[in-house]
Symmetry: C2
Subunit: 340 residues, 2 copies
């Protein structure tokens, strides 16, 4: 491989000068610069980023861990991450953790080995390696979370107002005449589930309504189908189901179809995320739109702020969500009564 040495030799200058042409061209005389550039071209020189990193202690990489890259919500977030990172000159090291703690730790360890400058973790578990780092460096540790926010972690995060969004959905369901409402949540230990649950229950309370029935899922289609089936075969089934992910809602939709229960006529279904598929299923799915790419971009910005010493206290970036009403949401049995 050709090194800066070769270039310098070919151009008849010192290594220092050759290096300067590449790093600070304006510091070098026009003629010398041209000569060096010519050698660079001729020899096909490209900088060895490993050597550069050793010297500068910067890798130009960020790690991003995600519970499941094949989940359409996360893949959109990742797209935002990649876009922002690439624009800022960073490369993305992708870690699919499959929700396994061990894999989360493995990727966190990479930060210690200096394989990357920082880490963005999507998901709710803070690997112990990162906790240690956080302990030592506080808010200056290059760690950012996406989607789930737990203030006590002391980590910057980009997310929506999950409690608020869930509250809105429930209020809308009540206004449309629904009283028997069920929830299909995410895993019980996730702050995201917790926040939405808080918002949903608060709405019931505000309304003086019964507490919603709760089934928990894991955000997958299949878990939505199962939970949906279980809800729809109850003695007194709900008239509306609010799912904490679109994929689960699509599963619930499939459950209703196979049980011969019409949506939205007999059962209304609302999802969460507004993945692309939401508008193409039958009936089109009402949902809460999350700005997925923007969440991804924002986590990168938060991380860059830390890396560039522009931030020394954790930031909680709340991005706007939007309730998207589509045909899967119809009036409930109490609509008239509640309107008069």
């Amino acid at each position: 491989m050709t090194t800066i040495r070769d270039v310098a030799a070919a151009a008849g200058v010192s290594r220092a000068t050759a290096a300067r042409v590449l790093a600070n061209p304006e510091m070098v005389a026009e003629a010398t610069r041209a000569r060096v550039m010519k050698s660079v071209e001729e020899l096909g020189y490209t900088r060895n980023s490993v050597a550069a990193s050793l010297r500068t202690t910067r890798t130009g990489r960020i790690i991003v861990t995600v519970p499941d890259i094949s989940n359409p919500f996360f893949s959109r977030v990742i797209r935002g991450v990649e876009e922002a990172a690439q624009k800022a000159g960073y490369a993305v090291l992708l870690g699919d953790t499959r929700n396994e703690r061990e894999r989360e730790e493995q990727y966190a360890e990479m930060l210690n080995r200096r394989e990357a400058d920082g880490i963005i973790f999507l998901g709710h578990r803070l690997p112990t390696t990162l906790a240690r780092l956080l302990d030592r460096d506080g808010a200056r540790a290059p760690i950012v979370n996406g989607c789930e926010f737990t203030p006590s972690l002391g980590v910057s995060s980009a997310h929506i107002d999950n409690a608020g969004a869930a509250h809105e959905v429930m209020r809308t369901l009540y206004e449309m005449g629904h009283r028997d409402i069920a929830l299909i949540t995410g895993p019980d230990d996730s702050p995201l589930t917790r926040d939405r649950l808080i918002g949903a229950r608060k709405a019931a309370e505000d309304r003086g309504a019964e507490r919603p029935i709760v089934e928990s899922g894991d955000f997958t289609i299949e878990s939505g189908r199962r939970a949906g089936m279980s809800l729809l075969t109850r003695d007194r089934p709900p008239t509306a189901i609010f799912c904490f992910s679109d994929e689960m809602a699509i599963g619930a939709l499939a459950a209703a179809r196979s049980a011969g229960i019409a949506c939205p006529h007999t059962i209304s279904i609302v999802g969460f995320d507004d993945i692309q598929m939401a508008r193409y299923v039958d009936p089109p799915l009402a949902t809460v739109r999350q700005p997925m790419a923007e969440i991804g971009r924002r986590t990168v910005e938060l991380l860059l702020d830390i890396l560039n010493d522009r931030q020394d206290t954790p930031v909680s970036a709340t991005l706007p969500h939007q309730l998207v009403v589509r045909e899967s949401l119809g009036p409930g049995p109490h609509l008239v009564a509640s309107n008069t």
Copy 2:
């Protein structure tokens, strides 16, 4: 940061010995080893991978570029890649190229800068940087393709028999009594489109049937919807549409629904890939199953073979596909006639 020097000093041995404990423990005396390990623990030492890479010229990373990570087909392939890479001790640098040549080149350049040991590109365009490398090192260049195979490139690749699969779909459609068949293909310049087109036309020829009508899309839902709409509003619409991706098929399904055309009664629709959503749409989508994760894993194996000098001639790995018949595929108008 604590380095191997600190560890050596703390343990009262030379740097070499300390380093050996970590790399070749069996070469070091039991007692010394224990002493060194103790220092490692106490000081919280972790190897600086950048320095190690500079010395060994191995990064332990592979680059994977993908046209669109939010495409469910690719995200599954990537999952397979990540899994296999991680298992082999490699990390994955993800590049979402958005089908833009410039971005493809950018990621290819990273190989030159030694930011990774090899590259897997999903998509059909070979960046010029890689072409140059291939020119120089032939089959020993650490470059592998996934999904699309063009023998002339001289690159190892993992994929299915696209022509064969398309042939099978068409044959099945004919056998079920369809005569007016339309195709919604991918981009015209992709070998994948070309191969499937070849297979489909061959099937028509073998059958002595008319050439299928062709609309081209770009694998997205929206392009499928558009193409589907255009096909369904023809003077003499087809009775079956074979789409080169499930997402386009789902778009076509939506088009049929909005046009009031019943599937499968009036129009049969077949997709390609068997993404998870295929079985949950209404009606469930008939399709060709591709072993997505396996394709991903296999590309990694092919790359590792090159990196470990186990392979010096390009390999074309053809993985098995499977026609999956579901309700979106029904009998055509000529079923009885053709059977008697």
